[in-house]
């Protein structure tokens, strides 16, 4: 519920911010909500070439995104459902590929190009996410989010974690599906790409799923920040401390994405690949270094 309500609002904030950065007034913050509600009221149309999969994939992708969100602790220390980093990563990869397939099943050439771009983008960005999260796990000495929070309570400052965090933030920009990484949709090139054949409720499911997926990714950024601003610094054991930290993270991520969107042109596939190559190299080196630095004893 939190996910469903918060994700469109964050998107609304991003749209407003971007608009202000571009000297526009921008839509109201609730606009994304209105858009989704409108889409949900529309009839379901399935392209003849798409068939059953076209119907199922949006809903599946939505569910996967929702479960991604469910295993990350948000405003509390313990997550609603136990899952841990490995499951989180798996779900993240899964939802990315589901969206890629969604684009391709209809047989629309633009959808296929969008889908293949999505596959490439996912293949090159997800490893960096994996590595930076592994780094987090190594330094937090656990694969579970609540343990990581506890283990980083005593302000475990590590330069490697700072690098991993930077990498993770770039990955968030890449995964947000906005300029400069909006290649799979690329309005002016592919007329919507992977979502070109979807409309109405199905499109709403895809959009909401994507938004929730991005918010889940934002949520994990909290654990990086947590390592630098431990909970007991901002409010000790007070119950609103995680809440405060969480919203701080959300807004920070939104600002980062919005800035990246306003200041850049869309990447070409080759440029995106190169950038992710650098990211992967940096994060791998960081991981090795932090392992050497005594982050051992991974699973407690």
């Amino acid at each position: 519920m939190l996910a469903i309500s918060i994700a469109p609002i964050l998107d609304g904030i991003r749209r407003k911010l971007t608009a202000r950065l571009q000297n526009r007034i921008g839509p109201p913050i609730l606009q994304t909500w209105y858009d989704l509600l409108k889409l949900f009221r529309k009839e379901t149309l399935v392209p003849e070439t798409g068939g059953f999969l076209t119907l199922v994939i949006p809903v599946t992708a939505f569910t996967v995104s929702l479960s991604m969100f469910a295993i990350v602790p948000t405003i509390t220390i313990t997550p609603p459902t136990e899952g841990g980093i490995i499951v989180f990563i798996e779900l993240a990869v899964l939802s990315a590929f589901l969206l890629a397939i969604a684009g391709s099943v209809s047989g629309n050439p633009y959808g296929i190009v969008g889908g293949s771009r999505q596959v490439i983008l996912a293949t090159i960005v997800e490893p960096s996410i994996v590595v930076s999260l592994t780094n987090l796990a190594v330094l937090g000495k656990s694969m579970f989010f609540d343990k990581i929070t506890q283990n980083t309570q005593d302000s475990y400052l590590s330069p490697w974690l700072a690098v991993a965090m930077t990498v993770y933030f770039v990955c968030i920009i890449a995964e947000s599906g906005r300029v400069p990484f909006d290649l799979p949709e690329a309005e002016s090139e592919l007329t919507g790409g992977r979502v070109v054949e979807f409309s109405g409720k199905l499109l709403a499911f895809i959009k909401l799923g994507e938004l929730i997926r991005v918010v889940a990714l934002y949520s994990v950024a909290r654990f990086f920040i947590n390592a630098f601003i431990p909970l007991n610094v901002i409010g000790g054991t007070l119950s609103f401390a995680p809440l405060l930290l969480y919203f701080f993270t959300m807004i920070l991520c939104t600002i980062v994405v919005s800035l990246a969107e306003s200041l850049n042109a869309r990447f070409r596939l080759l440029e995106a690949t190169k950038l992710s190559g650098y990211l992967l190299v940096i994060s791998s080196i960081t991981l090795v270094l932090s392992l050497l630095a005594g982050g051992g004893g991974l699973i407690k």
Binding site: N23, P109, E189, N264, R268
Partner: protein, 554 residues
């Protein structure tokens, strides 16, 4: 070699084959030749003497001389002359030898003559329809004089345009007629291998509105000026100016100095607004929406300026035969100077910021290459030519209105990529702002409208304008009682779009919008329903009716 030398050389070379030689005006000559000699003479003039094909016109002249007229208009920018090669095609023998094998850019012109007048260019490499729809009836030629202007052939379901599909194994991506990246409908068919474009074909022109037919049958001079403005929503003033210039040339009238200055100011205002619009759209096409918004913010001041001077946000309704319809008052003059200074300051700041934006520059650099050789071979015009190192600018080479009184540079860059075209346009904005300033400070006093008397029939006029997108050519033949007998509009996109295929080949699908966008296309096109079966690469065209049927089933 001066202009007269070129002419003497031409006449000397073809002395025995020139039927008639006239000097129409100061720098416009006409050679009449036999239609059989067209290929050899034009091959020589175009390829040996480096002429530029400006336009080609077919005219139905059967009522006067029992023949059709073909006029190939070639220009020599460096010498400032225009030569019209006229040839007669007799009524009984409705064909002529095609010059496209020698002059590649004659392709569209000759197809258009076939479409509208039914004269067959013999030896044309791919003689398909250009502007008329697939279902247009055979042997029905709308620009013949005996074709009624309001006659509409019945609508059928026929769609059989033969695209040039390459032999290689490729997938086909239909691009347009309606596509986000296009402000107007046009249809490209990309043949791609992965994301790489192997080849492309173009089908367009079906939204041809028949402006020329209406002008030739229903309107008189006074009205056509305002119809000409409506040819384009961006460079409308350039079209009306071009028409008026052709007509004033045919009538050999002079217009008051002050009117010339005002026309120049408006032409340059149009250039600034068009280029700023383009810079914005180009930013949008590569996903750089902040640039898009900022360029249009600056452009808004230019629109205010246009509104103040003409009463319209666009520079419409200002020009008329013999001058302009509104004067610029002293207060408006001062206010304009202030606005221009403001725009220049904001524009310079913005340009510097954008040109330092690496992701934006990287999208433009090395993309959509057009070599200097190809640019010359296809007679491309405007910023596209100047971005490929071809130094042509009508304002400098064939000065019209008040341009000879102002100092301005013509930016020429030789890289030939989109970045070069962008920089050319970006610098032209500054030059245009400077021209407006010079004009506003030096504008002479006097009347703004001259009285035009009856214009004699069967005079030929050629209007040449450097529109924002390139050379605009209007060819005109006057008729009886202040009407136009033949009016042929050649917009710059007509010359530039023919090279889009060359620019696209070898680049990726991601670059296609900005490559097509980089020539700043301005066309109308037809509506098509196309479905491509990607698995076997076959193109299946679905007719309108069956598509509607499918929609209805759902």
């Amino acid at each position: 070699m001066s202009g007269s030398d070129t002419i003497e050389q031409l006449i000397g070379e073809f002395k025995d084959r020139t039927l008639k030689y006239i000097r129409i005006r100061r720098n416009v000559y006409m050679l009449e030749v036999k239609k059989e000699d067209l290929p050899s003479i034009l091959d020589y003039a175009y390829n040996k003497l480096n002429g530029q094909l400006m336009t080609m016109v077919g005219t139905d002249f059967r009522n006067q001389a029992d023949c059709f007229l073909l006029d190939y208009v070639l220009g020599w920018h460096e010498k400032g002359i225009v030569v019209v090669f006229r040839s007669k095609v007799p009524r009984r023998d409705e064909n002529f030898p095609s010059i496209t094998p020698y002059v590649a850019c004659a392709d569209w012109y000759e197809r258009e003559v076939k479409d509208f007048l039914g004269l067959t260019p013999v030896g044309h490499p791919h003689l398909t329809k250009l502007l008329l729809p697939d279902d247009w009836p055979e042997k029905s030629y709308p620009l013949r004089r005996d074709y009624r202007y309001d006659l509409r052939p019945p609508f059928t379901e026929k769609e059989d345009y033969p695209f040039n599909v390459p032999d290689k194994k490729v997938s086909i991506i239909p691009y347009g007629p309606y596509h986000f990246a296009m402000d107007e409908p046009m249809h490209f068919r990309f043949f791609v291998d992965g994301e790489r474009i192997v080849d492309a074909d173009f089908r367009g022109g079906f939204n041809y509105r028949g402006v020329e037919k209406i002008a030739e049958t229903k309107l008189d001079y006074g009205k056509i000026t305002y119809i000409a403005e409506r040819i384009c929503g961006i460079c409308g003033f350039a079209h009306s100016e071009c028409f008026v210039q052709a007509l004033e040339g045919a009538a050999e009238t002079d217009i008051p100095e002050r009117a010339k200055w005002i026309r120049t100011i408006l032409l340059e205002i149009e250039r600034v607004h068009s280029h700023l619009l383009w810079l914005g759209v180009a930013s949008h096409l590569v996903g750089f929406n902040s640039g898009f918004m900022q360029f249009w913010r600056v452009r808004e001041k230019i629109m205010l300026l246009a509104e103040m001077l003409t009463g319209n946000r666009k520079t419409y309704g200002m020009i008329t035969l013999g001058g302009v319809r509104r004067d610029i008052s002293e207060g408006k003059r001062k206010e304009s100077l202030r606005l221009i200074a403001e725009v220049r300051k904001e524009y310079k700041e913005l340009l510097e910021a954008v040109m330092n934006q690496q992701t934006f520059i990287r999208r433009l650099k090395g993309v959509g290459l057009l070599s200097n050789k190809d640019a010359r071979r296809y007679s491309v015009v405007g910023p596209v030519a100047r971005g490929s190192g071809v130094s042509i600018d009508v304002r400098r080479d064939y000065p019209y209105e008040a341009y000879e009184h102002f100092d301005f540079e013509v930016p020429v860059i030789s890289e030939g990529d989109i970045l070069a075209r962008t920089i050319v346009r970006a610098r032209e904005v500054l030059e245009a702002l400077s021209i407006i300033e010079q004009a506003l400070t030096s504008i002479p006093n006097g009347p703004v409208l001259a009285y035009l008397d009856h214009i004699p029939a069967e005079k030929t006029g050629i209007g040449l304008i450097e529109a924002p997108r390139g050379t605009n050519v209007h060819f005109l033949m006057t008729g009886k009682e202040n009407t136009v007998y033949r009016w042929r509009v050649r917009a710059p996109t007509y010359a530039n779009l023919q090279v889009a295929r060359i620019m696209l080949m070898g680049h990726t699908l991601a670059d296609a919008p900005v490559i097509i966008g980089s020539i700043d296309p301005c066309i109308s096109c037809m509506e098509r329903f196309t479905v491509v079966d990607v698995n076997n690469g076959k193109v299946a065209l679905i007719s309108r009716e069956s598509l509607l049927g499918k929609v209805a089933k759902k």
